[in-house]
Symmetry: C2
Subunit: 192 residues, 2 copies
């Protein structure tokens, strides 16, 4: 079916995508203009339209994202939280896709929906495998702490959060993630 043969324009396509990710990550959805992205990729703005249709679809292509959660099968339970926090830090610093998603998701409804999908399909299953009860709630709590750290460290750049090194962050966050994912429900069982 989708026999994707290599095209002569693949280089340009890739350059556009790379520039788009950078701009969306740095400026958010509305301030990242097609013209600026095209200038970074050193091509004409109309090429962006030809290859990606419109700005929304360009963003969708640039914000394709895989959390790449590690297997965790051989990891002892006590070490899982630290491994997870370290992995999240890697994913944040590895490329700019997550930053683009966060910066855009705050003001663009489509980007927010994309984040909800990633949460549901890529983080939810992890919690279902680990958490004894209320896995979705627990996954949401982990997301709140991890996204909050990224917000404070990479977006708002609160000085003390920027100053912490990787080991500090893992030491502080791992117990929190452990409580959220594996700990007992605080405040007694839910009585509705």
């Amino acid at each position: 079916m989708s026999e994707e043969r290599p095209r002569r324009s693949d280089g340009t396509r890739a350059a556009i995508l790379r520039a788009a990710r950078e701009r969306f990550a740095a400026d958010g959805y509305e301030r990242a203009t097609i013209r600026a992205i095209a200038a970074d990729a050193e091509i004409d703005p109309s090429m962006v339209m030809r290859y990606y249709g419109n700005k929304e679809r360009l963003f969708a292509a640039a914000a394709e994202f895989d959390l790449r959660l590690p297997a965790l099968s051989g990891v002892p339970e006590e070490e899982i939280p630290a491994v997870l926090v370290g992995h999240f830090l890697d994913r944040w610093e590895g490329d700019e896709t997550l930053m683009a998603l966060l910066r855009a998701g705050v003001t663009n409804p489509a980007a927010a929906e994309r984040m909800r999908q990633i949460f549901a399909t890529q983080l939810g299953p992890l919690a279902e495998r680990l958490a004894p009860d209320e896995p979705h709630t627990r996954a949401g709590l982990v997301a709140s702490q991890v996204l909050g750290l990224a917000l404070c460290r990479y977006v708002l750049e609160l000085p003390p959060v920027v100053a912490m090194d990787r080991a500090d962050l893992i030491s502080w966050l791992a117990p929190t993630v452990r409580q959220y994912l594996l700990g007992p429900r605080p405040g007694g069982p839910k009585v509705p």
Copy 2:
């Protein structure tokens, strides 16, 4: 000096400010247009410029914010985290200023700087009074969890985070805040 006598236009000024807060909170800095704000306030866009100079100063006026941290002097130490989490939830749901700050701060450098100032002047002192060591780091961690919750619950609207009620949130977050503010440094003392 600044003898501020009441003016006939105070009502208009207030209407502009209220509309500005709503729009900035709902749309972020760039998508909240002067024209839309003026339409909400049912006045002419040029009035916004007359009374607030330009968009940046309008935002500065609309994003004036006081965390209003409670005194905590009579509160026993074990209850401080829960009281704090409850207070933050109140401040988020009370008016739209925090939402405006968050949505704008993610894409607008001036708004981000404002958030850093609020953090430094209004949350820092609290940590200095409570935390035995590294108060700024601890304040930063609390900010990461509280802002992360707000991000997931009010901005991204991750379903499980939206679904939790106030008591749930306090039960889950208070232990985390307690560890960050009052708990021992995890992973042993810092050896630089």
